[in-house]
């Protein structure tokens, strides 16, 4: 009834990542502008070298709290008034911190860009960090930590990091801090952190959307004009593993209908020479719907709604992790399949078919990733955060296309370590413990939640 012959693709149309300019303003602030003339909106994204890895020991969560508190008031306006002024412009400004940077961002209609940027500049140049709002933000973070106790997915992620990294590593603790560390934070800590880290030399402002380089430069120079020059302090990151032998940690959730599973080890830093071969290798292993791990666990066995693997790319070596949730009674068989897939991709070459699926996907989907001003701004910010070089997005697709089955095998052999795999299970210990023990995935330790 329907034409049997499958359609052939037409000739691909050329795509280029948006052109952008890059300059350093007299204050030391770096400005990146990508004029994108599609819809009448603009995104401003400021990134500051003030991410969670700079938290002092025992003060985990300080970077996140400082970034959150940036918009809680100036000498002129209270936090609520500031929020009101932004939102009357139709923009919701957001601030926060991830591992590698603090950020402040907003998206606004182009005609309101100047107004919004001026407000943004006012807000973040001279924040007053009111005691009351600091305490409220701490209480909200503590509520979030409490929520996690009953949220198996988030709990599994957090415990996986804790069991993966040495206790003294910043990566072992949540980026937002633990209940103890957050409770210890004070307004003085926030103010000191702001003074030390937030300066023009540590800041990049990315502007993407319906604007010009000249207009963006004038707006940003004015808005960020009073940031102190200078560069924020650095802190060395420790990211050593907690153990180099296999281990299984079970967090007991009695009668849980599913087990949340995390299997992995310490991965690679973002700027690693094997980035592209590892990216393609992971796509075949667990990065795509049609990857080995998802097809095996979901489509062959029906154990799960979905299973995937990923490298969490950070400046330091973030985790490599296989992540899934399976019905409780198949916990052990599911783990067996995950370990088997990790072994298999290290032992034999993937097929040309598998390679082309991963490669063609990563190459072809590239333009679809950058449809929005927020996605473009965030891609440009990553150039700066990871020091990737101005031609990174122009050469990305070629780099992906050049990967061979041998490169994938080498990446798997070098960067997957079956003998070090850490397993975390949030699930019904009584029901799964014995069958998991038979798999011999390492010593098993039980924990209450």
């Amino acid at each position: 009834m329907v034409t049997v012959l499958r359609p052939q693709p037409a000739a691909p149309r050329l795509y280029r990542f948006p052109r952008f300019s890059e300059e350093v303003l007299p204050s030391g602030l770096r400005l990146v502008v990508a004029p994108v003339d599609k819809l009448p909106i603009v995104t401003i994204l400021a990134i500051v070298d003030a991410g969670s890895t700079i938290d002092p020991p025992g003060k985990e969560g300080l970077a996140a709290l400082t970034a959150d508190a940036l918009l809680e008031g100036t000498a002129e306006f209270e936090g609520a008034q500031l929020t009101e002024r932004f939102e009357q412009l139709g923009t919701a400004v957001e601030s926060g911190a991830d591992w590698d940077s603090a950020f402040i961002k907003l998206t606004v209609l182009a005609e309101r860009l100047e107004h919004a940027a001026t407000l943004l500049g006012d807000a973040i140049s001279r924040p007053v960090f009111p005691e009351r709002e600091i305490e409220r933000l701490k209480a909200e973070r503590l509520a979030e930590i409490l929520q996690l106790e009953t949220e198996p997915r988030g709990l599994a992620d957090e415990k996986f990091a804790e069991f993966l990294y040495a206790a003294e590593s910043r990566y072992a603790k949540p980026d937002g801090g633990s209940a103890e560390s957050v409770a210890s934070l004070s307004r003085a800590d926030v103010e000191t952190f702001f003074r030390n880290q937030y300066s023009a030399g540590s800041t990049t402002v990315v502007v993407a959307g319906a604007t010009t380089v000249a207009a963006a430069r004038s707006v940003v120079a004015k808005a960020f004009g009073s940031w102190p020059t200078g560069i924020g302090s650095k802190r060395e990151l420790l990211a050593s593993p907690r153990t180099t032998v296999r281990k299984v940690n079970i967090l007991n959730k009695p009668d849980a209908p599913q087990s949340e599973l995390r299997v992995g080890h310490v991965g690679l830093p973002r700027k690693h020479p094997d980035f592209f071969s590892t990216l393609v290798m992971n796509a075949v292993l667990g990065g795509l719907f049609g990857s080995r791990i998802n097809l095996n666990l979901r489509e062959v066995h029906g154990y799960t709604y979905g299973a995937s693997s990923y490298y969490d790319w950070r400046r330091g070596p973030g985790p490599f992790v296989v992540s899934t949730a399976v019905q409780s009674d198949v916990t052990a068989p599911a783990l067996r399949e995950i370990f088997a897939e990790i072994d298999r991709i290290r032992l034999e070459k993937i097929t040309e078919e598998e390679l082309s699926l991963a490669r063609d996907y990563l190459d072809g989907v590239f333009p679809i990733r950058y449809e929005t001003t927020t996605a473009i701004a965030s891609a440009l910010a990553n150039l700066v955060i990871y020091g990737l070089g101005a031609d990174y997005y122009d050469t990305y697709r070629t780099c992906v296309r050049e990967i061979t089955v041998d490169d994938v095998l080498n990446a798997a052999k070098r960067h997957l370590h079956p003998d070090r795999l850490q397993t975390v299970i949030v699930g019904d210990a009584a029901g799964i413990k014995d069958s998991v023990a038979q798999l011999k995935l390492g010593e098993i330790e039980l924990h209450a939640i």
């Binding site: 149309r13 599609k38 819809l39 209609l109 449809e371």
Partner: protein
Amino acid sequence: MTLHGGQFTTMRIPVETYELDNGLFVTLSEDHTAPIVAVNLWYHVGSVNERVGRTGFAHLFEHMLFQGSAHVGANEHFELIQRAGGTLNGSTWLERTNYFETVPSHQLALALWLEADRMGDLLPAMTQEKLDTQRDVVKNERRWAVDNQPYGTMLEKLQELVFPVTHPFHHSLIGSIEDLSEASLDDIAQFFATYYTPDNAVLSIAGDFEPVEARRFVSEYFGPVPRGKGKPPLPPMNLPRVFGNPLREVVYDDVSLSRLFLAFRSPVFGTREYYAASVASAVLGLRKGSRLHRSLVRDRQIASEAACYTFDLAKGSDLLVVDVTARPEISPTQLEDETEREIDLIYRQGVAAADVNRAVALIETDLISSLQQAGERADRLSMFATYFRNPDLINDQVASYRAVTADRVNALISERFGPDNRASLIYVPRNGVEQEPMLAAAVSAD
């Protein structure tokens, strides 16, 4: 009421529509800024069309649509689109099911061909084994998203609480494990023949394509699919404008913080009144400057989060839901009382022009922002085509929102926010909180 005296840039998305002889309604919307094209199909079928004893079937069926068709193998749809450099998925809602691909523009024919093959010729690929596997996958989706997730039962509990037993919105979208176990290949064949027909679907293509060529692909691939024989009528969907008496249900669950979902019957999606309700919900709970966030989270510190949204149901009655999560030290009773007090205040005093300006300005930016993506444009075109046969409504949204005044919002509030139109669904931590007498005595409404 605009901030800058009407200096807004006018934004108009091109919309072209036509219908095939078999009833397939097609919308084309060109945009050549990037070599990307989105294909989007809405079938006008959802959980409302399920029969008794088959809850969850519409969604299970959506999974089966990825299990191959006459000329496509199991999971090959996924593989071919990803190989082409595209993204894809499907989703099921109460009133519709959608399937969508965004692909590099030179792969448009492939996406259309795949959608046509499963619309025209699904059944030869259906086997008991595939059904059994997808049933297990869906049961795991239920465990993951509903049973093992704090507040995960919210949607089905709310539907049960606020819609009468006989109403098609009453039953669970994802379905019960028992009903999922009962689904058979016969059910698949029957559902396919009844609902997966060109005259019960709309197709939208948005992005970088040549209209003449796109029309040729559509005729060639979808043209031969026969028209359906019509679908059974739904039971009456109309409901009174308010609940009448207060409805309430308390759920003791494995959660850390109490959370209140306070629902109101509200005007159905797309009506003039709907826009007032949508703005009211944004005044109450969109972003940090909203009334509830400012008062409950920032000023009084009773809640750790506060939001408000509408379900956007197009038939019967929509729902407007206030969603407030307590601070750890706040009891569920306090949470409920304080939230209701806030609603009472707004009910008595109404909202101001500045509240409405803020809400409309935020909605407008979100709207324009989301239309940057071809997939999002195509999905909205399909939505307006499915519900109103008029995809061009996508271009009226900004004007419809800007036309909402404080008077219209206040009229909506005085009609819908009274004590006769409130349903509370409240989650209470099972451990640690003493069961207050009032809560223990609460009776769930029928």
